[in-house]
Symmetry: C2
Subunit: 79 residues, 2 copies
């Protein structure tokens, strides 16, 4: 049986953010590369964000939101 | 007559975030000092965030949200 995750321990916000970003990006039908181009962020940086390895800051959150045509708060909706 | 702000030019996201943070903090009835203590962030850093001088990152947004008892997305609601 796989170990159960402790329900009282929240996931790392960077992971939750990365998953939500990937979900929204796919909903819009963009590849990581296309979103990188659209937002002006480096493709490798974007990959790190989606994998939860980056502590993304406000201005980059807003750049991604503009590129995805969603309000910035939508990217934090699952947190 | 004061110069009109161009309606098509959005405010800097750091300023909008800082105003929303100050609004929510006051709604909860916390001083900057109390919020700093509650969130574990430095008071001077928090002041800079509220003045729109800091590009706050995800983990600190989440720390402030926990301290204010609001979802993190609430802090980006006005963006």
């Amino acid at each position: 049986m796989p170990p159960k995750r402790d329900q009282t321990e929240p996931l790392d916000p960077r992971l939750v953010f990365g998953r939500q970003l990937a979900t929204l990006r796919k909903q819009v039908g963009l590849s990581q590369e296309a979103l990188a181009l659209e937002s002006g962020l480096a493709r490798s940086y974007l990959g790190g964000v989606e994998r939860g390895q980056r502590n993304i800051a406000l201005l980059n959150i807003c750049r991604l939101a503009v590129a995805l045509s969603v309000p910035p708060s939508k990217l934090l909706e699952t947190l």
